[in-house]
Point group: C2
Chain length 373, copies 2
């Protein structure tokens, strides 16, 4: 096994923390935590699927390194777990284990577990230590950076939560070998996003090296590290999302609308796939508005197709609603102010920007074209 570990520092002043990326980090978690958070006791929060693969490795790794595991909470897998009722279960388990503010909640899993366990750690005793052990590519490049935590409300996703930065992230690149290929690809869409936002060289590198990233090894570690660096840069500029951080939503406005239009049916579309199509649409829409060259839109589409991701509406199995209905899903997500919307658009590969006055009529016309194929 390759023992290379790359460290990315998220520079947030007194909330700064490190992301360690490399193989075997879960098995070595105990020595790492003992060195960085001496004396900590932990509660592990995970889901049933992830527990089957990695819980014993983590627990043994922690205990071997002298870290006491005071509680393990294993929840059902899936988005529905991000609820008030599961939050209350996790909070209660942490309190029952008598963990203090300088003890840690360890999230072992994907975005759902990270969001839920992070939120719980942010509210027990008004904030205790939090360690992320993301086990999906999506969580390693996205949810593990930035401190957003939360649960869903019947009124929308992620409407309830806090900003709570972890003390440490262990992104074990080895665990990604056990991911289904479709889930790995979905995470890859968010990884490519960072190239498209403001790192054109990274996107070009991915165009050349994506097969190595999929295969594992150093290229995968480097790609995850670069995505984490990119996100950390944006978050350091705008921790509480009052400005630039909105760039991270590239592809997400169209993507969320498509997730809603397919009733969050993961057989048809998972989040990362929605983002892939959303990024392709954002580039094509930017070209239609004469902001970017159609060649750049074509480059994005070609790359997504090459890695096996969906990139156009026709790639979604089953029927989609009409343009007006898709537009309604878009405006559910955001305010329409005097007939104009805010979108993340682009002037080319790696030149995304926040466009605040996109005419609703242009969005609608573009959706009609896109549906017509």
């Amino acid at each position: 096994m390759n023992d290379k570990t790359v460290t990315v520092e998220v520079g947030l002043g007194d909330r700064a923390y490190d992301i360690l990326i490399g193989p075997g980090l879960i098995a070595r978690a105990g020595e790492t935590l003992s060195a960085r958070l001496p004396g900590t006791r932990v509660a592990i929060v995970t889901d049933e699927n992830v527990a089957a693969h990695h819980l014993e490795t983590l627990r043994d790794g922690l205990e071997r390194g002298g870290v006491a595991v005071a509680a393990v909470v294993t929840l059902p897998a899936g988005e529905k777990t991000k609820s008030f009722s599961h939050l209350q279960d996790v909070v209660d388990a942490i309190l029952a284990a008598k963990l203090e503010r300088r003890d840690a909640v360890v999230a072992l899993g994907g975005g759902v577990i990270g969001d839920l366990a992070g939120f719980a750690s942010g509210i027990v005793r008004r904030g205790m230590d939090f360690v992320q052990v993301p086990t999906s590519l999506l969580a390693q490049v996205d949810s593990s950076v930035g401190g957003k935590t939360g649960i869903n409300s019947a009124r929308g996703k992620n409407l309830i939560g806090v900003f709570h930065q972890p003390k440490l992230v262990l992104a074990d690149s080895g665990v990604l070998d056990t991911l289904p290929i479709r889930e790995f690809r979905a995470g890859y869409a968010e990884l490519a996003k960072y190239g498209l936002i403001d790192r054109p060289h990274f996107f070009a590198w991915l165009e050349k090296n994506w097969q190595d990233v999929f295969a594992g090894g150093d290229a995968r570690i480097e790609a995850i590290a670069e995505a984490c660096r990119a996100k950390a840069d944006v978050v350091a500029r705008d921790e509480f999302e009052t400005g630039d951080r909105a760039l991270l939503n590239l592809g997400h406005t169209f993507g969320h609308a498509l997730e809603a239009a397919t009733a969050y049916d993961s057989e048809r579309l998972v989040h990362g796939e929605g983002v892939a199509i959303g990024m392709a649409l954002a580039h094509r829409f930017s070209a239609r508005l004469n902001l970017a060259s159609p060649d750049d839109a074509a480059r994005v589409e070609t790359h997504l197709r090459a890695v096996g991701l969906p990139w156009r509406l026709a790639d979604i199995p089953g029927d989609l609603p009409g343009a007006e209905k898709l537009f309604d899903y878009i405006t559910q997500d955001k305010k329409v102010s005097r007939g104009a919307l805010t979108f993340i658009l682009t002037r080319g590969i790696g030149q995304s920007f926040i466009a605040k006055d996109v005419p609703a009529s242009e969005v609608l016309a573009f959706l009609k074209e896109a549906l017509a194929g």
Copy 2:
């Protein structure tokens, strides 16, 4: 009506905010909010008792000043309201009213409502604006400064919450005229606490002027302002309670134990009364340990007695448990490390300090003496 308004700034950098103290602030809330938080819409959270006295004044005052009231949540009065289930109700009402991050939750009530509404405002959309309108003396001098919010768990009080600073506090000194005298006195105990922590001149001033504070008018406003300044100083030094902020717990270790020993029966003892007795005991205990002069302990006891507050164990109606049991209640609240406890003790009036190595045996011996009268 006297229109004097005193402003105390809580200096927390980009989370700094003002506390306005004076009569008639609720009726003028609309113009104040319009000027300081332009364009804000609000959800009011209150309890049934407070609503009967002040809700219409606040609602009219807001709407007259051009602030839209998008929702009103009226909860049962009492500590039991600080629960997960009421938190969820408040969060849902805020989301149903489609409030955004720059809209505000307005807490109209005492500490329970402030803690619950503040917590809700801290987690909806990962933090929205929050305005406190404290209607008890205790809430005006204590809960309204410092950003602690939260709810209770079956495992203890205030174990779940966040630090979330308000944007503005309107401490309407006029509403205190409608408080039952016992509740006013209980708040006065926390007010006097700030003199005992580190403001000996303020304590001396209260000894001379307490009757004017009880009567209302400028002395009351000045006393509230000075207590808020004192607390703001401590909080600015230690926002997240990693050090000096523990000084605010003067009187609270004994006080909490007494509240628990009387089963939180408010007929026998309310929080501020527990703090009054706790402060007297902390001074007497410090004298017993030869840290402070017995004359200072006597001064504290004399003043509490003068204003009508309980100051010794014998002032609590009904039977108390024995010294061992009281000691157990104390250690439920805090860790006993190698036979020693952390207490807030004092070297004299206004000279409190954090004592980290108080022998358990001394605490127990002192409790036996105090119970013997």
